[in-house]
Each structure stands twice: as structure tokens, then as C-alpha cells.
């Protein structure tokens, strides 16, 4: 598999040379493969948002390189805008960024700036609306008449309509209720499956990350501390807890059972997985039929 993004010794310092100098990202090197779904976790202030903003050139690294498809995105600073169409970014609480008269126009805004028009534009908007399950009749409404969850999906559709090769979502489910979270998450998974695009998901919800990510990046006080398969990362529960993170409850339960001498695997991520493991075990021991 080829890598779409490569970070080489990437660092960023806020307010360099001032008394408020603060190192936000220190010497991060990693490779992200094409078509992967990667989770990024870390407590507030760990540098994960700064890292994400360097991936599409919103922030210029203090040192180090961001390679997109093998090419340093800052080689030609004047063309940095084109990078932002290739690496789409959905910020936290994106619903506050809606501004157009209709949902359709709002979704189309980024794609028009990218240079799409006519039928191509229409198709891009409708596809994006479909991916985020916005009903066609909503497209003519004002974005401000939508419900909270719909607004958020409309804002995400605006980025999807630009058809970015890499989609970065910063806390897409924050503030949504369990049902809204569930709907949005399954749409992200569907988008990722059907398009085969690379998706980066920044989240505080370990349950969400555990369910959908192929690999997980863990940031702590500006440094990359883990980058591994999701089950491997969550198998290191003690280390995660020592840096202010936690593992999903289900992972913790299975780990404790394992420590108690019951033969279950490490790094179990979902309730479905746990149910099938434990029910097989119970059957084997003749405790259920």
C-alpha cells in the first residue's frame, strides 16, 4: 500500500521568540497509507489539532515537512490553496460555519471555489448530501432551519463535495446525543468504504475510535507517543490512562477478565466482539447451549 501522507520531523512552536513560546508539536514523523481510517487521540492541549491543521497547510510547520503524495506541500507556497482541496478539513462544531441562503448553496461553496460548475457541481453536491443522509427536500431550505445534527451533516457535506483525497474530521460527534453520534459515525464509515478515501478522525470518544479506526495516533504533550493498530493501542490501557486518556469500558472489562486468568484476547474493542468471544467460551464450558 502506498502512503498518501508522510510527516518528517514535523514541529510547530506557537509564539516563537516571545515569552509565550509554546511547543505544540515536537518532531513527529509518521506515514499514513492511502485509504486508511486513522484515529487521532490525546487530551486537550496535546497537540492533536495543531498537527491536523498542518496536514492541509493551514499552519506552516516551524520545522519538518508534510509530504502529500510524496511532494512537500510547502515547496510552492503560492499553490498551498490547491492542497486544501485535496486535504479537506471539517472543524469542531462546523455547524457554526454555515452561512449561505440554502443548504444546496452552502454545500456547493467549496466545490465552486475548487472550480466545479454545471452538472459536475450539481452531481458533487447531491452525492455529498446523499453521503451525509440529507434528504433532497432539505437542499432548498435555509441551513438555519435544520436541526443540530442536520446542520452538522450539511457542513460536513460541504467538505465532502470538494471530493478531497484525505478527509480530516475534528471531533465530528462532540455534543451530539447517542443517536446523532451513531448516525454520523456510520455515515463516515460508509463514506470511507464506498469512496476508499483516506479519513482522519480526531476524537475524545474512545468508543468511537475503537469502533471505526484501522490505526490510532496517540499524542501527549506535543509528542507522538503511539501509532499502531487500534487493538494494539487500546491493549495498552495503563499507559493511556497515565496520559489522561482511557480505553473503552468493554476493553477494560475484557482486560480485567484476562488478568483474572480467563482466556480471552487482549485489545477487544466492541461489545459485539466481546459477546461472541464470551458466548463461545461459555458454550465450550457447557454453561450455555
Amino acid at each position: 500500500m502506498s502512503e498518501i501522507l508522510e510527516l518528517k520531523n514535523l514541529s510547530f512552536v506557537y509564539g516563537k521568540g516571545t515569552p509565550f513560546e509554546k511547543r505544540a508539536v515536537s518532531n513527529v514523523s509518521l506515514k499514513i497509507n492511502r485509504g486508511e481510517l486513522v484515529g487521532i487521540i490525546g487530551h486537550t492541549g496535546s497537540g492533536k489539532s495543531t498537527l491536523a491543521q498542518m496536514l492541509n497547510g493551514l499552519i506552516k510547520p516551524t520545522s519538518g515537512e508534510v509530504l502529500l503524495d510524496g511532494k512537500n506541500i510547502w515547496d510552492e507556497p503560492k499553490k498551498i490553496r490547491s492542497v486544501r482541496f485535496r486535504v479537506g478539513m471539517v472543524f469542531q462544531y462546523p455547524e457554526y460555519q454555515l452561512f449561505e441562503e440554502t443548504v444546496y448553496k452552502d454545500i456547493a461553496f467549496g466545490a465552486i471555489n475548487k472550480g466545479l460548475s454545471g452538472e459536475e457541481l450539481d452531481r458533487a453536491v447531491k452525492n455529498a448530501a446523499d453521503f451525509t443522509s440529507l434528504k433532497p427536500e432539505l437542499l432548498d431550505k435555509s441551513p438555519f432551519d435544520l436541526s443540530g445534527g442536520e446542520k452538522r451533516r450539511a457542513a460536513i457535506a460541504g467538505v465532502i463535495a470538494m471530493d478531497p483525497e484525505v478527509l480530516i474530521l475534528d471531533e465530528p460527534t462532540a455534543g451530539l446525543d447517542p443517536m446523532g453520534r451513531e448516525i454520523l459515525l456510520s455515515q463516515i464509515v460508509r463514506y470511507h468504504k464506498e469512496k476508499g478515501n483516506t479519513v482522519l478522525l480526531v476524537s475524545h470518544s474512545m468508543e468511537d475510535i475503537a469502533r471505526v479506526a484501522d490505526r490510532v495516533i496517540v499524542m501527549n504533550s506535543s509528542e507522538l507517543v503511539m501509532f499502531d493498530k487500534t487493538s494494539e493501542v487500546f491493549a495498552r490501557g495503563d499507559e493511556l490512562e497515565s496520559i489522561g486518556l482511557r480505553v473503552p469500558q468493554i476493553t477494560k472489562i475484557m482486560q480485567s477478565l484476562r488478568l483474572g486468568g480467563i482466556s480471552v484476547p487482549d485489545g477487544v474493542l466492541t461489545v459485539d466482539e466481546a459477546v461472541s468471544i464470551l458466548s463461545a467460551l461459555l458454550k465450550k464450558e457447557g454453561k450455555i447451549w
Binding site: G175, D177, M179, R246, S256, L257, L282
Partner: protein
């Protein structure tokens, strides 16, 4: 003794003269909250829980039915300010609730408005900041604090009014896991050590299981209420209304469905491990 009594309350945001069929945001809720209780209210967005919360300190008045706070009717305008001193409200976004540029001034804002003596304000501010564990930050700028710290400042601001009850509307929704536990530990401490009645509206089931009582709302009504164990044992009902249950409860419930001998539905990881350990040994 009931501290807050909600009696068959109906409320609609629509104007009944324009639209007689406007849906009720709160649709016939009755609930009693005793002094010193810690009650969690759960339910998905639009179920009416925030609307109900605003009835508890007379920010909204019922269309029909009554809300009594410490035996005073919230519809009695003469009692409005008294009620708001007794019941403080903390909202979801900490950035929208902080008004001053220094932490201690922000906490002093409430008592200043009540016309409390300056020397008394000083005492109350210090006490409130100590109660939420933010005393060392009293001279800091609120906007430079973390989300969990900001939310604790907002709680201190309410405490400085010396309420008997605090209502919190999803205070941890915008926080990271450590910020969430900071706020939760603060609330438990206020409840257990200072005897303050806490009504916590939340989406996080792991917070709800720590309450004395849980009320589940759906479509403006109370679907069920009881101790966390009584409520979260009804896994099917909660799932049907697309609410979360703690993963520990879901795992045990589903294994029980497979025929495993699970004596009771666990609420926490520790309980679940203990029960499953016994079943599997």
C-alpha cells in the same frame, strides 16, 4: 422532603393562538426531587430535558401544571429571584457563561448582582473556588483555562450565590475525558459533602450511573425513572428508544440473552468483571 416538585407540567414553544397543534416540548411531566438528592436526567436531543431544566429556576413557566421550589410556586413573580438564588443553572458551553477577565471576578459576579457585602463576597468567592478545587487559579484569566477548569469556574460562580440546588445542562458535553471526570468528581463532592441537591442532564451513561436516581425522558415525557440499577437493567427499553446503556450492562444483558446465568445487570466495569468472573470460573 420534596425540594422540587414538578406536577403534570406541559410546555410548548409554539403560540397556541397561531398554531393549536404546536408540539409540546414538555408533555405532562411529574417528578419529585428530594433535598440532597443527586438526580440524572437522560434522553436524546429534543426530548425536552433542557426545557424541563429551565422550568426549575423559573426561566420558563409551565403552560399547564405547576413547579414548586421549596414550596414556592415558580409562577409567582414575587418569588422569582428567591427561587433563582436557591436553584443555580450551569449550561453546556463554558465559554458562553464566563463574563470577567479574571477568575475570581467571574465568580464574584453573581453575589455582586445580589448586592452582597464586599467582605462577604470575598469569603464566598474563596469558599466556592476551594470547593471546586480552583482556588490557586483565582487570579488567572478564564479564557486560558482548559474546558474542565472553565466549567468548574462556572460551577463556582453558581456556588457563590449559595444555592441549595444546582441544575446542570450537559456540562461535560464539550469536555475531554479528564475534563469530564474533573467536573463529575466536583459535583459528587458538592452533593455528598455540602449536601447540595444536584440535577444533572447528561448524554454520558457512565455519569448517570453515579447518581442516586435516573429519569429517562423521551418526547417530552418521563419514560421511566428509578435507581441507576433499575433503569439500566431495562436494556431493551433504552435500546428501543435509541439510548445508550453502559457497555458493561449491554455485555451482561446480551450474554444473559444467550442463556448465561447472570444474576443481575452490572453498571460498572468492576461489577461486570466480578459477575462474569463468577459465571466463567
Amino acid at each position: 422532603m420534596e425540594f422540587i416538585s414538578i406536577q403534570d407540567v406541559y410546555f410548548s414553544y409554539g403560540d397556541p393562538s397561531e398554531d393549536p397543534n404546536a408540539p409540546n416540548a414538555v408533555d405532562g411531566v411529574s417528578l419529585e426531587i428530594r433535598k440532597g438528592e443527586f438526580v440524572a436526567v437522560i434522553g436524546h436531543n429534543g426530548c425536552g430535558k433542557s426545557t424541563l431544566a429551565k422550568h426549575l429556576n423559573a426561566m420558563l413557566l409551565p403552560d399547564r401544571g405547576k413547579v414548586y421550589v421549596d414550596s414556592d410556586d415558580t409562577a409567582d413573580e414575587n418569588k422569582t429571584f428567591e427561587i433563582r438564588e436557591k436553584v443555580g443553572l450551569v449550561l453546556q458551553n463554558p465559554d458562553n457563561q464566563l463574563v470577567a477577565s479574571i477568575v475570581e471576578e467571574d465568580v464574584a459576579f453573581g453575589p455582586e448582582n445580589l448586592g452582597v457585602e464586599p467582605s462577604e463576597i470575598r469569603k464566598r468567592v474563596d469558599k466556592a473556588l476551594k470547593a471546586v478545587g480552583m482556588y490557586e487559579y483565582r487570579l488567572h484569566a478564564p479564557h486560558k483555562l482548559s474546558g474542565g477548569q472553565k466549567q468548574r469556574i462556572a460551577i463556582a460562580g453558581v456556588l457563590a450565590i449559595q444555592p441549595q440546588c444546582i441544575v446542570l445542562d450537559e456540562p461535560t458535553a464539550m469536555l475531554d475525558p479528564s475534563g469530564r471526570s474533573e467536573v463529575m468528581n466536583t459535583l459528587l463532592k458538592l452533593n455528598r459533602e455540602m449536601g447540595i441537591t444536584v440535577i444533572l442532564i447528561t448524554h454520558y451513561m457512565e455519569e448517570a450511573v453515579l447518581a442516586d436516581r435516573v429519569a429517562v425522558m423521551d418526547s417530552g415525557r418521563v419514560l421511566t425513572s428509578g435507581t441507576p440499577r433499575e433503569v439500566f437493567s431495562q436494556v431493551e427499553l433504552l435500546k428501543k428508544h435509541r439510548l445508550d446503556v453502559p457497555q458493561a450492562a449491554e455485555l451482561a444483558f446480551r450474554l444473559k440473552g444467550c442463556g448465561a446465568d447472570i444474576p443481575q445487570i452490572p453498571l460498572t466495569a468492576g461489577e461486570c468483571v466480578k459477575i462474569l468472573g463468577e459465571v466463567l470460573s
